[in-house]
Symmetry: D2
Subunit: 337 residues, 4 copies
């Protein structure tokens, strides 16, 4: 339920009301909007007499949130969530440009690419240290060593770091080095992992699953928010269809849909979304034109020798040219890189 | 096979060579590129001794076209096909903006909308007179009366006309009034209809089927080109996936893919591609950013009373604002409205 | 609307009531069930005052049919439709076994296969004379010559004939030779063709489209029934998914769903449904176990040299063994071959 | 690579050869077939000189396994894997019938259902104690308490137990009570979890993901086998398509495909595969007719009050009748319940 307090109630009163609701066994979350305290009371709480609650003197209104994702919805929070990571304010007028290699492979690679993407305008460095691979016999990532390299390369160029976490037991380790914890498409409904990152103090980048509906994707975000971590960035990365020419089918319809349903920022991964280097720039432009809050792009200076996903990585020069195009398109929507 | 003639061969020789190839039972099509005659020889012709043909003195080379769609491919014709309809050159640097109601409903409606879309910058008026409807009990269109209205409304505002043809027996009738014959998504593999429009003297707008791969879509275009009509405009309008929030899933990945594989122009229908009015503009912008050659958009001045597809039709003012945004995005790709 | 007449009304009265309903601009269809006349009144008919109609003395009840497919639904007709073709009663306790080559290729082929499938227990011979082919350069079928061969081969072995019709202009020709007119998956929403076969005097086999929902499939059947032809056989033949190992994904869930929603018989095509010879028998068995009313199977005595679909055609011996297995499975459901 | 040893080599020699291959950094697995030792050598091992290995005196042949799933393939192991759990030999001529409630809800529920399914012919009791739920606010299962109840109820009726494990940290706990560890569809590509159950001493039931290709499913099984646990049971439970009438689209094509590609047993879950009680029996019959090695079915004595999935649970009487039908169908394939 969404409980709106009367304007001007004191902090003490607001806190007291939240406590009273919690005593019903509900979990209570708070967001402020337009000078008003909004409490989202979620959980089973079947026994609450809401008509009674409605009569409490400090309460303006109590309404049902008519979607299954409660804390994620614009009903609960009408204004956009903005998540600050280093120089970047994700979800603001400034677009979030994240770029880097698929996997961290070594010091020279990490520093070379970090420098290139920083010069082009990226503010977050991406790179995998733990890699979910279809085959158990493929390169599985450098692990903690990779995280250290990523952190050092990012720091050298003033970038933030986003890196994937595959397992509840990795969360605290990855959080030590990365600024944003990525939950991959294959783990979008790994609820134990969602609960764990829901308790982390770092923002979470939640990729959409290959066959996830938009509603399921938002429900997975709800799992994270329900644990107390409200800093979730959604990432569309392509769904699976019958088309075989491209690796996935990028569903850009999802961008305006998510922006309407939720206050969370949503970015696009055109690298996995197409799987083909010379299609990435077109879809990156399209993503921004559709209203995405940013991009996460694979960039590699020597993609032919990349240990993973070389075929879909941009050369640094291509990435640089792309950011230039993005700048103009962003202006159409009143945004900037 | 692609047969390249030596530069400088006379017209008579070129014609003679085409005739000799036809005597093998092949169908021979011609395109000129860079001052060179290129002959596409298609059909079964299993018995042709191509090593022999390769030695004919006027022939520079003979090569296999390594894709199943032959005349449609960039191997056969490296340069973009440009199709002129009234003031519009579809496939050129100028974007083709087609707009109008889903169905023609009456004189006032047709003229009002034609005027509005013309003022906003459209050059082609869309409108259905024969409607493919899931239910036999729904409005099936005004038929020839609708075509007449559409023609008059378009003429009054200097627009071309595109309208759907559902049946081989309708082709000559629709061609009498429309400048472009539309083949709908449900008929993309209606091969009798493709053959018939392949003999028409009018350009054909070929919508992608709901479950068609890009290759199948191009193969359907090949059916048309193989009959002699090279004026085909492809139109992405969304595919069917598991997502239920939007009517269809617009596959914009298909735009850069088609532009690489084929010389034919490709446009996008964001109205059917989303099915939701307030998502249309975002996806129209994204389409142009992805490199589409134009748009076909449903516009209605009174969508709440439209006889079909009101929920996805833009108001004229929304369409006008959209064209303004498109103009800036087009400039990023060196194009214009 | 479903209008139930009181038991015992005379034929004259029933005819008179139908006429009165038709005067409202409705189309009226009739089915009798349990000694009661049921009138299905379909069409736009927005102006009818049904509360008034409900008071007519001969009328027992008037109820809305709560699905978009009206005449196709079990609400309109509670009992199974049974369609007689030669020795076969499709939709009865006896399973309908249709078999034969993908394409008719010549006299020897047609007669050899007809003999083999008849001996194994088939009662209907399948075979294409007009073939919808993805490529315009593939074998397109023998046309009328093929129909003649098919008819003669079937007659020689006491079989009925089912063959595909691709175009409104072919309907009367195919109906001259075939007992059942097949509408292919690609034409499931070719509404002009549906209307035309809706006026034919022959049963229609309506294949499900590759991306058609069950509701759309039933709506396409409704197009046929609404024109007066109530003899429609539905055929599940696989839908398109992301799976590439099999040609299509056979959706057997559709069998019990269709049997509940509709009174029309539904059969399965495991040949197109899998696309792989050594998977056909398993899925044919599964189809019958799921409750299908029959099968349509591709059989060829020399599949390596078939002009189409050889890879999914059974050898006659395999087909013979399959029918034996089917017999036992059918007995579990109280049915027989 | 598949390394076949000469017949008659001693155990000591076989062990020695495996050790020599391991020294190349490979992981070596062994299966015996037809009196011959077969070694599957997997891993990166790029540097191995296989032509040299081929000349070792005890080696009959070395061949590349031409599929990405190595230990899972029939090339590595030609004979069927049979997994013994209590009275049940999964993958043998005897079908494995697993049944029980979606979630364990309490003592009376667990014992009532266990008794009913045991009487009907089931040998394994299913039941969830940890439930992956789309909503964080839904019932999440009874946890260890549920496992204890399940174990006691199963023991009371001579049944084995299968229960889901959602997280690496739950594996040892669930393994204490269950005979088979279930990895759910949403976790099919949770590689950390696959690795963990790959080290467990219990068989694993691996459900197919909603958008997983057959190859990806087998690759996930390969993750488990590569860790040393060869006891994997595959379970088809429906994929996601555009169809909305049924909860999922059961892909029975997958059954004969998997039986050809792999030696692992494969069963079907018709409850999740349809999501509709009165469609479950039809699809259960179809599964066995298609060649599945067994079923896992949701059964509940009071489904209207079930805490999860009541709408797709069979009543005990329905389950009993179903097992009777299965018996006859199984006989067609030379199998028995």
């Amino acid at each position: 339920m969404l409980v709106l307090l009367k304007r001007g109630v004191s902090e003490a009163t607001a806190g007291d009301l939240a406590t009273r609701l919690r005593m019903f066994g509900l979990s209570v979350h708070r967001t402020d909007h337009g000078g008003q305290v909004r409490l989202g009371a979620v959980g089973e709480g079947g026994g609450v007499d809401w008509d009674r609650v409605r009569t409490w003197p400090e309460i303006e209104s109590v309404e049902h949130i008519p979607v299954p994702f409660k804390l994620v919805s614009r009903v609960y929070q009408p204004h956009d969530t903005v998540i600050s990571v280093g120089r970047c304010a994700i979800g603001s007028r400034q677009l979030a440009i994240m770029a880097g290699p698929c996997s961290v492979e070594g010091e020279e690679q990490a520093f070379t690419i970090a420098g290139a993407v920083a010069r082009a305008g990226a503010t977050i460095l991406r790179g995998g240290a733990y890699k979910p691979r279809t085959s158990p016999y493929s390169f599985q990532g450098l692990g903690e060593e990779g995280l250290k390299l990523l952190r050092r390369a990012a720091d050298a160029h003033g970038l933030g770091v986003v890196s994937e976490v595959m397992d509840t037991q990795q969360v605290s380790l990855v959080a030590r080095y990365a600024d944003i914890l990525q939950v991959g498409a294959r783990n979008m409904q790994n609820y134990s992992l969602l609960r764990e990152v829901g308790h982390a103090e770092k923002p979470v980048l939640l990729k959409r699953g290959l066959a996830a509906t938009i509603e399921e994707w938002l429900m997975s975000a709800e799992h994270i928010l329900s644990q107390g971590n409200a800093q979730v960035i959604l990432c569309e990365r392509g769904i699976r269809t019958f088309e075989t020419y491209t690796r996935n089918t990028l569903d850009l319809n999802a961008i305006p849909v998510v922006k309407e349903l939720s206050h969370l920022p949503v970015i696009v991964d055109p690298s996995h979304g197409t799987g083909i280097r010379n299609k990435v720039a077109a879809m990156a432009r399209a993503s921004i034109a559709a209203g995405a809050d940013g991009l996460i792009v694979e960039v590699h200076h020597d993609p032919d020798h990349a240990l993973s996903d070389g075929a879909q990585s941009l050369y640094p020069e291509q990435f640089d040219a792309l950011v230039g195009q993005i700048r103009t398109i962003a202006s159409v929507l009143g945004r900037q890189v």
